[in-house]
Subunit: 164 residues, 2 copies
Amino acid sequence: MKRSQAPPRDPALLLWVVLARAFDAVERHSRASIARFRLGVTEFGVLEVLYHKGELPVCEVRRRILVESSSTTYVVDKLVKRGLVRRRPSAADRRVTLLSLTPAGRGVIRRIFPLHAQSMRQAVGALPSPEQRQAIDLLRTLGLGAAERHKASVDLEPLAEPQT
Amino acid sequence: MKRSQAPPRDPALLLWVVLARAFDAVERHSRASIARFRLGVTEFGVLEVLYHKGELPVCEVRRRILVESSSTTYVVDKLVKRGLVRRRPSAADRRVTLLSLTPAGRGVIRRIFPLHAQSMRQAVGALPSPEQRQAIDLLRTLGLGAAERHKASVDLEPLAEPQT
DNA sequence: ATCTAATATCTCGATTTCGAGATATCAACG
DNA sequence: CGTTGATATCTCGAAATCGAGATATTAGAT
């Protein structure tokens, strides 16, 4: 066995390491599950959010799938070409494009979502329910706090160039 | 305020959502911090692991930076070209290539690691120390469990094609 | 009303990452 | 020994993602 522990004595650094590892391990489940349906992770994300929230602006979708806006355009393009999603200009704000599922798109996500959900339950199932709840609270605090602090620090100077 | 909560009633799915969000938020700190040094996240990862562990096989490095082997080759190539890392064939196992820092590489990582560590402490600092320890335990269990279950399930059939 | 700053979306080129497969070596076993 | 299966590294082309910036629109302040 090689369960050698990565050894940052500093709990904060260790937390970052185990967070990254846990995310990676669970994400592999997600990726493999979604690959069954010939979809990419972010494509699935778009379908899923539109399925559960209904018509939404692109920027709202972007927030939830955690990628940059240019990537959002790219993924939405693919889904539109596939006939699963449709774009529509917003009347209220003419900068905004609204996204919604086509009937075909709704059919797809309705069929595959339960299967994927089951995979994700399996993925995180090593943690018993009460611990899951604890983890949810802690991760929520951690995530919100980190997002907050990120906005607050838009001022780290480039300190050095390690090489030309 | 739009603190509207993503509403999976299922705790397992909610856990997955908050895990992804927390990772994303903290990773933005990491990315921004490392960008100060004109390095990519995985490049930094390679330097860091070699700094703390000494000479290691490529596959060992790969395990720790959480990317696929082809990406590892790509990143190592760049670091070698920059003169920060060196490749050396292993005597014990001729399949293996050993990686180590050059003096220049060691100089770089020694200088920047403390600054990055400080950024990461700041990133996860919204969680008080006792909660950090709790989170570490929970995430470790979650991550190891998910990795375990992933190996165990190399048998999900492609179930359907949503579209041609 | 006008000006300025912020927001939303998209374009385009570059970078990063992956996936499948090629090659070489090692390990285990008969 | 020879075979078979696992492991380590790398190649190559495709896919995903980003970053900077262009454009249009809105919101806020004066």
